[in-house]
């Protein structure tokens, strides 16, 4: 198992990016290297368990996490302000296999699943790969990260379930660019549709309610082609052929 660090970081910013999503930037010393698709377990003052959040962007001095206020924990997190400190465990899990893509890749994001795919896009572009992205949201008000993808030189195809922006429907309703490998992160029904529709090889980042996030508690097990697997430690990224839908 890879080495895990417990680090205390300062909040640099914690600002809303949509009506219910926040962008949290933390900075400090001792940050490890992150592979795209890895996550952290973030302390939330007043809550017993940490919250697993995927890494949207990171370098040696800062880490950016994007989260949705879905319950009490994330609501508490959204009230934290710059200057306050938060402890996290990192890096956790197995991320995307960036070198599985030969030349042309397709990223398929659903909601905040678009966040970890951004770091992957940045690394793939740096490695000279061609990157296309299709990002799906419920409605126009939920669309995030469009400008950040554009800043990388990737014009994401936007899909909304209600048609209020871009193409109407599911991510699989968009014309999908040619690619030799795909990476997907989003709600399970979306990833299931992606894995069943595309005949190209790919990887999907799974989500499950976690306890420890580090492989101890067996709280987040799913059944895979290779047997029971812990989403936190054996995943969260799995190869398409290993996932049993």
């Amino acid at each position: 198992m890879p080495s895990i660090s417990k680090i205390r970081l300062e909040i640099l910013s914690n600002l809303p990016v949509t009506h219910n999503c926040f962008r949290l930037e933390l900075g400090g010393d001792g940050l490890p290297d992150f592979a795209p698709g890895q996550f952290v377990q973030l302390e939330v003052p007043g809550k017993y368990l940490r919250r697993p959040l995927s890494v949207h962007d990171a370098d040696n001095e800062r880490i950016v996490l994007i989260y949705k206020t879905v319950g009490e924990g994330t609501a508490l997190l959204s009230q934290m302000v710059p200057g306050q400190a938060l402890e996290l465990l990192a890096p956790l899990g197995h991320g995307f296999t960036a070198n599985a893509c030969k030349d042309r890749t397709l990223l398929l994001g659903g909601g905040l699943g678009s966040a970890p795919l951004y770091l992957l896009a940045r690394k793939l572009i740096a490695a000279g790969k061609q990157v296309n992205a299709v990002l799906c949201f419920n409605t126009a008000a939920d669309v995030v990260l469009q400008d950040e993808y554009r800043a990388l030189g990737v014009e994401p195809v936007i899909v909304t379930l209600d048609g209020s922006m871009g193409i109407k429907g599911m991510v699989t309703d968009a014309p999908l660019p040619e690619h030799d490998f795909f990476y997907t992160c989003g709600p399970l029904p979306m990833m299931r549709a992606v894995c069943k529709t595309l005949d190209t090889p790919g990887e999907a980042s799974m989500e499950e309610r976690m306890g420890c996030g580090a492989g101890f508690c067996y709280g987040c097990t799913i059944q895979t082609a290779g047997g029971p697997a812990r989403v936190c430690a054996d995943g969260p990224v799995f190869r398409k052929e290993d996932l049993l839908w």
Binding site: K6, G73, R209, G211, G215, F216, C217, Y218, G219
Partner: protein
Amino acid sequence: MVRDLSTDFCGLKLKNPVIPASGTFGFGLEMADSFDLNILGGISLKGTTLEPRFGNPTPRIAECEGGLLNAVGLQNPGVNALVSEKVPALRKLYHGCIIANISGFAVEEYREACRIAGACEGIDIIELNISCPNVHGGGMAFGTDPRAAAEVTAAVRTVTRKPLVVKLSPNVSDIVAIARACEDAGADGLCLVNTFLGMRIDIKTRKPVLANRTGGLSGPAIFPVALRMVNQVAHACSVPVMGCGGVSSANDVIEMMMAGARAVQVGSENLRNPFACREIAETLPQLMEQLGIEKLSDIVGCV
């Protein structure tokens, strides 16, 4: 002054009393690259059954004030994988006390799993888990009735000479009666307590949060109750007791030992801080100094 943290448990010398509890530290290898495991007095491995088990559907975890509920349902690779893969791999890195936690659904199954674990050189203690609340028709059913507890303890006693420690359930009206029944049936030690049966409901969906409906409560919320039970059992029985339940600090370890525990298991705290056991072991000498304790074993059962 050099503080003596060592403790004797069932004839084994542990360098300190701090042991990650079963189910909260995997098979010990998950943190092997993050810190030197040899700072731990012992490691209790994930609950293991005769045959491999997938466990319960998810969600298996529900948070609550002061702790969490789990309903993992004894997911494990089976006792043969334990003795052929997990224990040998851990033994290469770790020289302390390795505790195999064995569970089952029938007396014969417990006996066979304990026979296999008992024959494994790397295992120091067999922890007989008769207190898992998250499986049906086994586990806790043996730990809530003195006669059933005695029957399974006696059956296992015949197949291993290794120290046999029975892990008790707190979901009983008289834990001393169960503890005495296990002691009389041949247990070399007792470990208490396992989790408290609990439940949470999602008020939006009007459904239980856990797929299993109910789960075991652990964490700081249960510490005072666990402490009271350890105190009662330690004074009623003559075999050594491992204290377990909501321990999250060096302070809690001292309390458990004062209540009568010779060794102390740390559970849920590992799930939010995988470095917890190392930090507790490192903090104990300072706390002993503050309290004027030279030898940790001197305080066992002083209350």
